[in-house]
Symmetry: C2
Subunit: 301 residues, 2 copies
């Protein structure tokens, strides 16, 4: 891969996990004329990503990774795409460069309370690299504000969106939860460790057994970032699968944080939503939609 | 049933649904020398409750119910025990007294945003009855503060209890959620419409698939009342089943709101917890246990 150097920004390295996102980013960077290199993560990166990649490295090959970054003049790093297999400590003891850096790596990874991704960021920063996010290099891929598909939310939908948004805000104050679902003026599901997909499946089941009652399509999934979330490496994301699960749960639509969430495979996702009759909206924290919230009507549980 | 009238308090009517709680209340009232009558709800009350009941009435027999209350001089009413079948509007059109009161009943039940139980309370209040709660007539059945079983929580357990308590408080501000689970310094599950039992089952599954990691027994279920919860008819309750599910989820213990939650079948529940190695504690809203909360370590989801 050889692209014209604009000379304006440091060269960017995409360290690419699974999914189609790395290729989408590459496309966006190409359009913007930014120079970059792709490093595919072995056992994670998709076929299409690997076809475009400049090199392919395994978890243990940290020495080779730094060598590649230095050789290609990359100073910015974007960690992009999912990782399905969690590396264990033995698999990272890969090459000489890794061993040489072992004290630094151990110091970075051993740090008590931070997430694995925060630790990985530190691994790059101690070597003088800057870890950037999608917002920094391809902000056009993030959700914009307002109605994004063809379906318009109604008054009740806006109220549900606001209720679920408030719930995520409250949980965000404790640094938990990215997502919530409100149906018919009542918050019915809150995301914990199970993740958004499992929460949507739960909602479908609760509707099926009559524990959540609604006529026709009703309810909104809201997905936002937590206040302390590092959006460089952990971006709230919805995609075609989210639409499928939201439709299966009988929801009326989904709301994501404008400028703070990613709609993966945007075109396909929005088309899928249109076809299923679901709205997709971009909303902002703290926004109130001017609808009064309906009092909670919890039954004895 | 004929008990000596103390002359100090109005006679109490227990309107009894399923479970063993009605009999426990009857026992507590007997010990306290309070006079009462038991009205068993047809199709709901247990065998033991029915054996002690003074009469048995179905959903539609509101006229007969009021007649019974008047005849027996009951002025206070305690709605107690669970209700597994939800009455529909046709099943309440039962007797002449019901039909006579239909306008009042419809007014009470049609009121927009309140829960069914709040509406039922109103049905009694418009007839001049006072609806009381367990707290008013048998407060000794509510959880007390501190360590209630034989197992003592450790430092990490208190921290988890505090984290989950804070989560229920935040959710309570929005009138949602009675319960949360924290494991190893991280809130992993929040209760929505699924109820506490289903949340515990989810937690067990998330541990099984490695989405929640812990060594040995770890984590605390916290169950509290919402600020606006009407404790007369909707009391957070734990029982032997809660202990079974918490043990299956690998939790270290459970915490309930002191003076605001009920431990059903207290003796059996606490013995079960002791045998399973789970602690049971009573805690209060706003209490902080003097342990610093561990930063959240969420992985990409």
């Amino acid at each position: 891969m050889n692209r014209a150097d604009t000379g304006l920004e440091p060269r960017l390295a995409l360290i690419a996990g699974n999914g189609s996102l790395p290729c989408q980013i590459a496309e966006a960077l190409d359009s913007a004329g930014r120079e970059f290199r792709i490093i595919a993560i072995k056992g994670e990166a998709d076929e299409r990503t690997r076809a475009q990649a400049d090199t392919e490295l395994g978890w243990g090959e940290i020495g080779r990774l730094y060598k590649f970054l230095k050789k290609t003049g990359c100073r910015d790093v974007l960690l992009i795409g999912g990782v399905s297999k969690r590396p264990d400590f033995t698999s990272i003891l890969g090459d000489l460069g890794t061993l040489k850096r072992l004290p630094t790596i151990i110091r970075a990874l051993a740090g008590g309370d931070d997430s694995l991704l925060t630790k990985v960021i530190r691994l790059f920063e101690v070597e003088g690299y800057r870890v950037v996010g999608i917002k920094d290099v391809a902000p056009q891929l993030l959700a914009s504000s307002g109605v994004l598909g063809k379906i318009q939310p109604n008054q009740g939908d806006w109220r549900d969106a606001e209720l679920a948004l408030r719930a995520t805000e409250k949980l965000g104050e404790l640094d938990i939860g990215q997502a919530a679902i409100a149906v018919g003026g009542r918050v019915v599901a809150l995301e914990g460790a199970e993740g958004t997909d499992a929460m949507l499946q739960r909602c479908a089941e609760l509707k099926r057994i009559g524990r959540i009652r609604s006529k026709g399509r009703a309810g909104v999934l809201v997905k936002t970032a937590k206040p302390n979330q590092d959006l460089r490496v952990d971006l709230p994301t919805v995609g075609p699968m989210t639409i499928d699960l939201a439709a299966a749960a009988g929801l009326a639509g989904i709301a994501v944080e404008a400028s703070g969430a990613l709609i993966a495979e945007k075109e396909e996702t929005l088309k899928k939503a249109d076809n299923a009759g679901l709205f997709v909206i971009g909303i902002e924290h703290g926004t109130r939609f001017g609808v009064t919230s309906k009092g909670q009507a919890d039954e004895r549980s």
